[in-house]
């Protein structure tokens, strides 16, 4: 099936990516802003995510409560996500109804109200979201390991933000953040589905072309310094389950080492999927699953990296077997890391990783929404070519590359090991 792809930039700086796909009468429209927790300073952690919430609270043209009904009425779905490097909004609609989504996005790129009473009621909603997260032992653990891994860089805090900041930020803080980052020159539109490219581009120019560019937003520059030794920490909480999270500092997505590391990740922890909609596959033949779960040191194991603008983390999570200790699981992890550092992997293992990635792309391509997601997502940390060349770049990885990056990045001195230790109620109350 032919899929016409176009990338263009409007005079106001808005990047537009269009991909025609005519397999179903659907269109998925995504607007991406280059703002996330990466752009936040202490005192204002969580502000990008809260601004995302406020984008659903109305403009003069589409008041709160009218927006969501309008999209639902037409049979569409919509949502938004805030992450380390970006905030994104999407609508997937029957093809003949997409204009509503385009009008809405063009409107809330500049006209959101941030009314004080809406800010007040959303404050408690976001606090409630954080309280729900805090119920999970893994949230508490990963918050602590992330903070230990980044002393300087804003990847230090969780996207949801710290409770202190959620309680103290003001309406004006939020509005200022919105005005600084929500502008066409700081945004990418990605639309996939059943449309005619020329007509769609015309309509986007009508709706978005008149929105003035804003001064380029100020970028924080707080690179993390080289790690100088292994960090260990413990989080205590309720329950009966011990979790260990080992995090290694990893390079940015545009670093040439990213692809050999992707092959290495596949080998160690199983194939990771780039799909937001479309899912992944199991990891039961991965080296770490065999060394940890099959040998009954843990009852579960997962691992993976993120594609990010700045260097982030590779995270391995182990759920410790009730009859074993974190130290035993860590020793087995270290032995497997040593094995990829000492022994070259085979060519077949690279080929296998490529076949897995190919299948995951095929599953992801079934969803128009996922196709829209891919285009904008890759623009946040690289560009769409990164995505199109992904399989070729994986296939070009050599066993030597994998061994080299295993030695370079999987060093004890460059990791944080966090342990969630369950303590019983009597101990907590002391």
């Amino acid at each position: 099936m032919t899929q016409k792809f176009t990338k263009t930039t409007l005079t106001n700086g808005l990047t537009v990516l269009l991909k025609e796909i005519h397999s179903a009468p659907l269109i998925s429209s995504w607007v991406w802003y280059r703002v996330g927790s990466r752009n936040e300073v202490p005192g204002k952690t969580g502000i990008s995510h809260w601004v995302e919430h406020m984008q659903f609270k109305g403009t003069p043209k589409f008041p709160a409560n009218v927006l969501d009904k309008a999209i639902s009425r037409e049979g569409g779905v919509w949502n938004a996500f805030t992450y380390l490097d970006f905030t994104t909004y999407y609508e997937t609609m029957p093809a003949d109804k997409i204009d509503l989504a385009l009008q809405l996005e063009s409107d809330r790129m500049q006209n959101s109200l941030f009314e004080p009473e809406e800010v007040a009621s959303e404050r408690t909603v976001v606090i409630s979201e954080r309280e729900g997260n805090e119920n999970s032992p893994m949230f508490k653990l990963s918050e602590a390991t992330q903070a230990a891994a980044f002393r300087i860089h804003p990847y230090h805090h969780k996207v949801i933000g710290d409770m202190a900041d959620l309680k103290s930020m003001t309406r004006d803080d939020l509005y200022e953040h919105y005005k600084a980052y929500y502008a066409p020159n700081n945004a990418v539109m990605a639309i996939a589905g059943d449309f005619d490219t020329e007509k769609m581009l015309e309509r986007i120019k009508e709706l978005f072309g008149g929105i003035p560019a804003a001064p380029a937003p100020r970028q924080l520059s707080r690179p993390e310094t080289e790690p100088s030794g292994e960090l260990s920490l413990t989080v205590e909480g309720t329950g009966d389950t011990t979790y260990v999270q080992a995090c290694y500092h990893f390079p940015a997505a545009t670093d040439p080492d990213f692809f050999p590391l992707t092959v290495l990740d596949t080998l160690l922890a199983g194939a990771s999927s780039l799909n937001m909609f479309g899912g992944g596959i199991s990891n039961k033949t991965s080296r770490l699953y065999r060394a940890l779960v099959e040998s009954e040191l843990t009852v579960g194991m997962s691992g993976g990296a993120q594609a990010t603008i700045d260097p982030y983390l590779y995270s391995i999570v182990m759920v410790i077997h009730p009859e074993k200790t974190p130290a035993e699981a860590l020793a087995a992890l270290d032995a497997e890391i040593a094995r990829v550092q000492d022994e070259k992997i085979s060519e077949e293992e690279v080929t296998r990783a490529v076949k897995q990635a190919k299948a995951l792309f095929a599953y992801g391509s079934e969803s128009i929404t996922n196709q829209g997601f891919w285009m904008g997502y890759t623009e946040m940390f690289a560009d769409y070519e990164w995505f199109e060349n992904y399989l070729d770049n994986l296939a070009a990885v050599t066993p030597e590359d994998v061994q080299r990056v295993a030695k370079k990045y999987f060093q004890k001195k460059a990791r944080v090991v966090g342990t969630y230790l369950p303590v019983n109620e009597e101990n907590i109350n002391e």
């Binding site: 409630s128 033949t285 009852v299």
Partner: protein
């Protein structure tokens, strides 16, 4: 959208094999992948009180070793080609499902057949899975949402088989032996009433042939008839229970009542009514009251869960422990308003439009279509169900919704479960 684009009698192939297996297939050559899904009636309704979790444990053992392959070679074959396949247990059935690039469909077929017919239940894996399962239960015990749901089911279905989750307890899982597993498999697994759906880049005849080749000669004279469950009366009075879990910032709340069965005539009215009550837009009227207006919760929504037996119609919300009573009051007020005044013509029009308009999206992927085919078969909805669906939606009136609301919603007989600090 033209209704012809939805699955229908002219593009779904449905074949009944001699041994009782029904095969459904719909081709889709837009993507090079394929989905294989289905079920057979060997779910947790067959569990005894002493061995709760047996159906689930049995299903989870099917890929831990077969006569032909051990655990690692099963998963090596699948993962090497980026395929997935697994079995799991539900109340009435065990389900299976997987996907692969279409060239690898024979591999999925082999996994299905080997898992169902030739599992070996290796002792080493029984113990490994037992430990994983018990650890999973310990993690569930710390999850406020899971525990609220569990307590809610215990209240609502107090003496009905649906009161159990199918997961079992540490005690019952601890007591299950290899003989129990082998025996459960021998007695309950068979081709009668089994359904297999194949959707993706394959011709239907080819798919049917492949199923017939691997499962056409399967027989099990011991296989019991499909289990059924009885109806039950609503609660006699409002019943509330709190499940304490220390150290939690948020309490989960679940409250509700019995709802319709999937095949009841008023199911569609209940579904549309529920959409207005707690789904539409940002979680309907309940979301508007509890989240948007009061800022009490990140999520607050309602749901109609309708299957073969008595369904549950419930509201779920996560709130700060200090706000539990306030949330219950707000939700109860919405329910009272709902049964007093029903819904407006405009609300109904919007929700009908949502139901009809969102159909293409729910049917865009192979997995979505496979789910639709299994739904058609489970409830005997007719192959043209999705083409007639818009008309069925349009037929519901405001009066129908008011009637269904008054029939099921009794605020003085609510089941209310909370879990948290």
């Amino acid at each position: 959208m033209n209704n012809k684009a939805y699955p229908g009698a002219d593009d779904i192939t449905r074949v009944e094999l001699k041994n009782g297996i029904t095969v459904l297939c719909r081709s889709n050559f837009n993507s090079p992948s394929i989905v294989l899904r289905g079920n057979l009636p060997a779910g947790s309704l067959f569990d005894t009180e002493e061995k709760l979790g047996l159906a689930d444990f049995t299903a989870s053992m099917l890929m831990r070793g077969t006569e032909k392959n051990d655990f690692q070679s099963i998963y090596d074959a699948l993962e090497s080609v980026g395929a997935s396949f697994n079995f799991d247990a539900n109340t009435h059935t065990i389900g299976f499902g997987g996907r692969a690039l279409s060239e690898d469909l024979p591999l999925l077929m082999e996994m299905l057949s080997e898992g169902l017919r030739k599992p070996t239940f290796p002792t080493e894996h029984i113990e490994r899975l037992r430990a994983q399962h018990i650890a999973g239960l310990a993690m569930r015990d710390q999850d406020t949402r899971d525990m609220a749901e569990l307590v809610f089911d215990e209240i609502l279905y107090h003496d009905h088989p649906y009161r159990h989750t199918g997961d079992g307890t540490a005690e019952t899982i601890g007591s299950i032996t290899r003989d129990d597993l082998v025996d459960f498999h021998q007695k309950h697994y068979g081709p009668r009433n089994m359904v297999v759906a194949v959707v993706g880049a394959i011709e239907a005849d080819d798919a049917v042939k492949q199923v017939e080749a691997i499962l056409g000669d399967w027989q099990n004279p011991e296989q019991p008839p499909k289990p059924t469950v009885g109806d039950m009366p609503p609660l006699e009075e409002q019943t509330r229970r709190h499940h304490p879990i220390a150290g939690k910032s948020q309490t989960d709340l679940m409250m509700g009542f019995l709802g319709p069965k999937r095949l009841d005539d008023d199911y569609m009215a209940a579904s549309l009514g529920n959409s207005i009550l707690g789904r539409f837009g940002l979680m309907g009227r309940i979301g508007d009251s509890v989240r948007e207006k009061s800022g009490l919760a990140y999520y607050a929504y309602s749901s109609v869960s309708a299957g073969q037996g008595p369904g549950a119609w419930y509201i779920s919300a996560g709130v700060n422990p200090a706000n539990v009573e306030k949330a219950i009051d707000l939700i109860t007020k919405e329910l009272e308003f709902f049964i007093k005044d029903g819904v407006t013509e405009e609300e109904l029009k919007d929700n009908k439009s949502n139901y009809i308009g969102s159909l293409p999206l729910s049917l865009e992927s192979n997995g979505g279509v496979a789910g639709a085919l299994l739904n058609i078969e489970r409830y005997d909805l007719g192959l043209d169900y999705y083409r007639q669906y818009p008309d069925r939606v349009r037929a519901v009136t405001c009066e129908d919704i008011l009637a269904v609301a008054r029939k099921y919603i009794k605020t003085e007989r609510l089941a209310i479960a909370t879990a948290g600090a």
